[in-house]
Amino acid sequence: MHRRGVGAGAIAKKKLAEAKYRERGTVLAEDQIAQMSKQLETFKTHLEEFASKHKQEIRKNSQFRVQFQEMCATIGVDPLASGKGFWSEMLGVGDFYYELGVQIIEVCLALKHRNGGLITLDELHQRVLKGRGKFAQDVSQDDLVRAIKKLKAMGNGFGMIPVGGSYLVQSVPAELNMDHTVVLQLAEKKGYVTVMEIKDSLKWERERACHVLDHLLKEGLAWLDSQADGEPQYWLPALFSELSSRDVTPEEANQMTP
């Protein structure tokens, strides 16, 4: 870091350098910082005006939030970087997402013993909504995704894995590479997968398939059903709720009176 030299000699030298720069027409960094300070004040005023007219829009309209976020990203601004940022303070975007972050962490923590730290975005969405209660504001999946992206800053392995058109949200620092991800995607349809299925679909050798499945077992992400008909089945609790809340199963349907 550049420290200001003390002493008359240093001061004189500095003045000379400054004069030389100004002569060349170069604007000095400190001048620009002063300029930025003024521009910031002006910008703040504009933002206040915008907020007074449209603050509600951001709160109520999730589409507007998406647009807002995308515009910010395009110009290189992160409105959620700090609670002290203008965007957060004046538009209230911060509190909305940071609170959502808290709720996401709490849901993931509560279910970790059951699913090992992996949950579908759909299930997370449902549970967060439930936890927020009747009078809170609705949130979209896009809102969740953005909140999760911010949580990554705190370590702890928050991440998202694309599966079957949506995402699995990971909330523990378990190492999941491409092989693991691909097996998760394969398991998505039925909630479980077998070694044979992996060999058939992915054309892997038995050893590679077992290695991946063992890792998932160890991390608590998969459960082994060794008593299933035919081959042992590796079930993923993260994918359970997704299935159990689908439509009536054929067995149940047979029991229903038309």
């Binding site: 960094a29 910008f43 910010c72 002290k84 972050g101 449902q126």
Partner: protein, 382 residues
């Protein structure tokens, strides 16, 4: 509500489930339907509703029956709703829960939220009209609208017009908001470019920046949400704001840390602090930046990052040797321990218990037995 037919809730061939939402009550026009709260399911072909308690009570309506739909915002004591306007039922409609209704629209009341996603997906399906490409194997009665009596058709036209007007009005508000937003973004972009210019000058040393000016610059970046392009650090990566925060955290976290054995995961701290604040919450980055300043400010806390990437705040008084020694004692006493067992023993979270065991292993005091049954630690006798 007289457009609905009884259904067994099973999806047909080529019909896919798009989204479902529980906690939904149906309204016949403006009146509550004589049904309880249920689950509403949207498929590529139909809108299905099923009673939450009595799964046999299930009704459906083809999407082609929908003329138009719109959101109705929540109010005090009222849930948000989606209002769906329907074509008249065709003459050969199968039996349903209502023989006759004076209304040509229904409402879905979202008592447990979920209306944003549902509305979005419904819009998608109504735009794509996937049911036209892949007709379900069972014939679904489609109404063409013009079969109905003239009085009904006129009613619908009147409603449509009113809705169209309201939509134009809403669109106008939204487009004004977007316009203002675009103008705002242009100004924000100027700030971003200015900050980049300053940053490159600092790097090239074109000018003499004091420490104060650097700190000021950083706080400007913070206000605008611009990432700090200058990599050199003064007092860590923080601003005065973060210094203040760090001191607050120092006070606030003493007791909780002591209660939890001297260590807390950063995500835990985040929840604790933000729940306590209620308003003007901290962003995750704010928390991280504040914690990074503990050492510089000589506060009795430290931010620590484990090999796994887990970040914790720990009391400085919390000696590492003590932690490892006690871990070794516990493991020796029990013969062996898993992270879950250790966590239970000490009243720690499993995550932190695991980190402690890993640390002891790293120092050579424990060794592991890694099997599908889990990760178990033994005293290292080698």
């Amino acid at each position: 509500m007289d457009r609905f037919v009884w259904s067994n809730g099973l999806l047909e061939m080529n019909e896919t489930l798009v989204i479902q939402q529980r906690g939904v009550r149906l309204y016949d026009g403006d009146e509550k339907a004589k049904l309880d709260v249920g689950v509403v399911l949207l498929s590529t072909h139909r809108l299905i509703w099923r009673d939450q308690k009595n799964h046999e009570c299930c009704i459906a309506i083809p999407l082609s029956q929908i003329i138009f739909f719109e959101e109705q915002a929540a109010g005090i004591g009222k849930s948000a709703k989606i209002v769906i306007h329907l074509h008249p039922a065709s003459a050969n409609k199968e039996p349903g829960p209502y023989q006759h209704s004076k209304y040509s629209y229904i409402k879905l009341s979202f008592k447990e939220h979920g209306q944003i996603e549902f509305y979005r997906r419904l819009t998608e399906e109504m735009t794509q009209k996937r049911w036209e490409n892949t007709p379900a194997s069972q014939p679904i009665p489609t109404a063409t609208g013009s079969q109905a009596g003239r009085t009904r058709a006129v009613g619908i036209v009147g409603i449509e017009r009113k809705i169209e007007e309201k939509r134009k009005e809403t669109d106008k508000n939204i487009s004004e908001a977007f316009e203002d937003l675009s103008k705002l973004m242009i100004k924000a972009k100027e700030m971003v470019e200015l900050s980049r210019s300053i940053a490159s000058k600092i790097k090239d040393k074109q000018g003499d920046i004091t420490e104060d000016e650097t700190i000021r610059f950083k706080s400007y970046l913070l206000s605008m949400g611009i990432a700090n392009p200058v990599t050199r650090e003064t007092h860590g990566s923080g601003t005065h704001y973060h210094m203040q925060l760090a001191k607050q955290l120092g006070d606030m976290l003493q007791a909780p840390l002591e209660e939890r054995g001297g260590m807390m995961a950063l995500t835990e701290v985040y929840c604790l602090v933000n729940r306590a604040r209620g308003m003007e919450l901290l962003s995750p980055e704010d928390l991280v930046n504040a914690c990074k300043m503990f050492e510089t400010l000589k506060l009795p806390l430290r931010l620590r990052v484990f090999d796994s990437g887990v970040m914790v705040v720990q009391l400085q008084s919390h000696s590492e040797e003590e932690m490892i020694a006690s871990a070794l004692d516990n493991v020796s006493e029990k013969g062996s321990l898993t992270a879950e067992e250790f966590a239970k023993l000490l009243g720690l979270s499993v995550l932190l218990a695991k980190e402690r065991l890993l640390l002891a292993e790293k120092m050579g005091h424990l060794c592991r037995d890694d099997s599908v049954e889990g990760l178990r630690f033994y005293p290292n006798l080698f």
